[in-house]
């Protein structure tokens, strides 16, 4: 490359725009669909695809051994996500079309329906408008690896596969209590899900194949096939323990299907860490900066650096810092803005901590055009914060820092000469904690997607959690519901 050429500067608004509107994902989906369907004329096809606007609809398989609760999970999911709920049996009974008749004729002759035909049935049903518009949840399909591969080859791939699992003994026992309402086809259970309506109770019948031997046979069949299926969909499935109360299983399933896969979209992390004193903001910021090569912007440090450099704003701030007063917002913001607008921050991303402290400062920051895309609240109880800070001591001779609980001084004479930073005294810490509590609530309201981190853990555990949230995109929101905090 010509080193004398002017470096190509891309306006930062473009990156922000692309990220906010997920331009990359839109275009990626367009190319993906083009390649799957390879239409003769791509332009009208793309127009139709964009009109459909169904990139985000749920596409889910719910798999699991007999009696693991597939049906209930799929039903709850489809109700919650407003998607179409499909079952293999339902496919055969609902509509009358050529493949359905073909399948029924196999069934009439007591033969197995071939995999290819199943796949055609499913594909045809999924192409219908309710599935394309609202998304779909299919339970219990595919049940062989071949079906899975055929589906993939024909271009149908779910976004999530929920695999329910429980020990065999639980499943066999559970299956024995299964009852079916012959009129509606609903599934009930003698102990776990007994209908309240006596009319329904009277009608219930024992379905076929719930005996121990029969269940055992089906389980064996399932266990033989499931590794192959999961191998075909290795990146998108999650195993969930079904031997828990129904609602617990459901909440886990829902969290999983709302998560989004990692996107290849170019993305510069703009992280904001917020927490009480002693919650480990600086440490986490340093770890993030080190691992992801982003710029660690500590508000306090930046302000002090400006004062030391004797810049104009720095000199204006000096009296405040010397008297340990809070620096006025506009001065602090000016200095921060200088730092964040430098090329390294724009190109590599930043992790900011120590600012903003309340909603007013946060508003100033976003007015200046610096909107973080991940906001973390490091939560610790007050007494932990006090314990972490007020017991910190420094050895004036060696400069080493000690903590009476976590890192006591090695020898008595060292212990005796330890001195405490006046800012770490219990009153001071309490003062800073009060300031934190004053701002925390409104700040949480200000930022829509706050991620709460339990910071009262090992620093690396906290770091791993933060990392996972930085790398993964924000989860989807359930339609018609505000994102839960």
């Amino acid at each position: 490359m010509d080193a004398t050429a002017k470096p190509l500067r891309i306006p930062p608004q473009m990156a922000v725009y692309a990220e906010e509107h997920r331009v990359f994902d839109i275009l990626q989906k367009m190319v993906q669909n083009l390649l799957i369907d390879r239409p003769e004329d791509p332009i009208p096809y793309l127009i139709a695809h964009l009109r459909q606007d169904n990139d985000d609809v749920p596409r889910i398989f719910v798999l699991g051994p007999p009696a693991s609760g597939k049906h209930i999970m799929a039903k709850l999911l489809s109700e919650r996500l407003n998607a179409t709920h499909l079952t293999p049996e339902g496919l055969l009974s609902n509509d009358v079309s050529a493949p359905v008749e073909e399948a029924l004729s196999y069934k009439g002759k007591d033969q197995e329906i071939p995999d290819a035909l199943w796949v055609r049935l499913v594909r045809e049903r999924l192409a219908e408008v309710d599935c394309t518009k609202r998304g779909w949840v299919i339970e219990g399909f595919p049940w062989t690896r071949e079906q899975g591969l055929l589906l993939q080859m024909s271009g149908t791939c779910p976004d999530h596969i929920v695999v329910l699992d429980a020990p065999d003994i639980v499943l066999i026992e559970r299956n024995m209590g299964k009852r079916i309402d012959p009129t509606t086809g609903e599934v009930y259970h003698t102990t776990f899900d007994w209908p309240e309506d006596p009319e329904v109770q009277k009608n219930l019948v024992e379905p076929a194949g719930i005996s121990e031997e029969e269940t055992g046979r089906r389980l064996l069949e399932y266990r033989r096939n499931i590794p192959g299926i999961l191998c075909a969909f290795s990146k998108i499935y999650k195993k969930i323990n079904a031997d828990q109360p129904c609602m617990d299983v459901f909440s886990q399933v829902l969290t999983f299907v709302l998560s989004k896969p990692r996107s290849l979209a170019p993305y510069t992390p703009r992280i904001l860490l917020y927490g009480p004193p002693g919650s480990g903001r600086s440490l986490q910021a340093a770890l993030l900066a080190q691992k992801y090569d982003i710029v660690n912007v500590s508000c306090g440090q930046v302000l002090k650096a400006a004062v030391a450099k004797k810049t104009k704003t720095g000199l204006a701030m000096e009296p405040y810092i010397e008297n340990k007063q809070q620096v006025p917002d506009n001065l602090a913001l000016r200095i921060l803005r200088d730092r964040l607008s430098r090329l390294d921050c724009a190109g590599r991303g930043w992790v900011l901590h120590g600012f903003p402290r309340d909603a007013e400062q946060a508003a100033l920051l976003s007015d200046a055009g610096y909107i973080p895309n991940r906001v973390f609240f490091l939560d610790i109880p007050d007494d932990v914060a006090i314990e972490r800070l007020s017991l910190r001591m420094t050895d004036p001779v060696s400069g080493e820092r000690y903590h009476s609980l976590y890192k006591p001084a090695p020898r008595v004479e060292v212990h005796e000469r330890l001195r405490q930073n006046p800012a770490d005294s219990e009153q001071q810490v309490q003062l800073r904690l009060d300031m934190y509590h004053a701002g925390a609530e409104e700040l949480e309201e200000f930022y829509p997607d706050v991620i709460h981190v339990n910071a009262d853990q090992d620093p690396y555990t906290v770091f791993e959690f933060i990392e996972s949230c930085v790398v993964k995109p924000h989860p989807k929101c359930v339609p018609g519901e505000l994102p839960s905090p």
């Binding site: 331009v23 839109i26 275009l27 390879r38 791509p42 332009i43 964009l50 009109r51």
Partner: protein, 130 residues
């Protein structure tokens, strides 16, 4: 099998000039930054569809005035022509792939320059199978 499918996909992308289309759409999107990107893309594709029928007015970031402006920058003293190197650089600025073009002549007048630029722009925004 897998390799064959991959090749087919590549052929498809090349034949229909999907990558150029996506590049153009992305630049349009990032330049205009519309509130509703989906609707914007639909409009652009509709325009492209119409332009294909009429063979004019392709959706493109640069217009005639931009070409004139570039010529003005390259020829500040008003000689009325630019050199071959300047001509190639101008094409690069407009986002045209210059690797397969024949070497341009020494002196290029304003008319030729404008005509060529517009032709190239049209070619690079006519992203469909011919």
């Amino acid at each position: 099998m897998a390799a064959g499918r991959e090749l087919q996909a590549e052929d498809y992308l090349r034949e229909n000039r999907i990558m150029e289309l996506m590049n153009n759409l992305t630049s349009l999107l990032l330049y205009h930054r519309p509130e509703r990107p989906r609707e914007f893309l639909i409009t652009q594709l509709e325009k492209l569809k119409l332009a294909r029928l009429a063979d004019e007015e392709y959706p493109c970031l640069f217009g005639e005035s931009n070409v004139d402006a570039i010529f003005g920058i390259l020829d500040p003293s008003g000689q009325g022509y630019v050199t071959g190197t300047q001509y190639t650089e101008a094409l690069k600025t407009l986002g045209v792939d210059v690797s397969n073009l024949p070497a341009p002549r020494e002196k290029i007048t304003h008319e030729v320059f404008k005509h060529d630029m517009i032709l190239h722009l049209k070619k690079s925004s006519a992203t469909f199978k011919i």
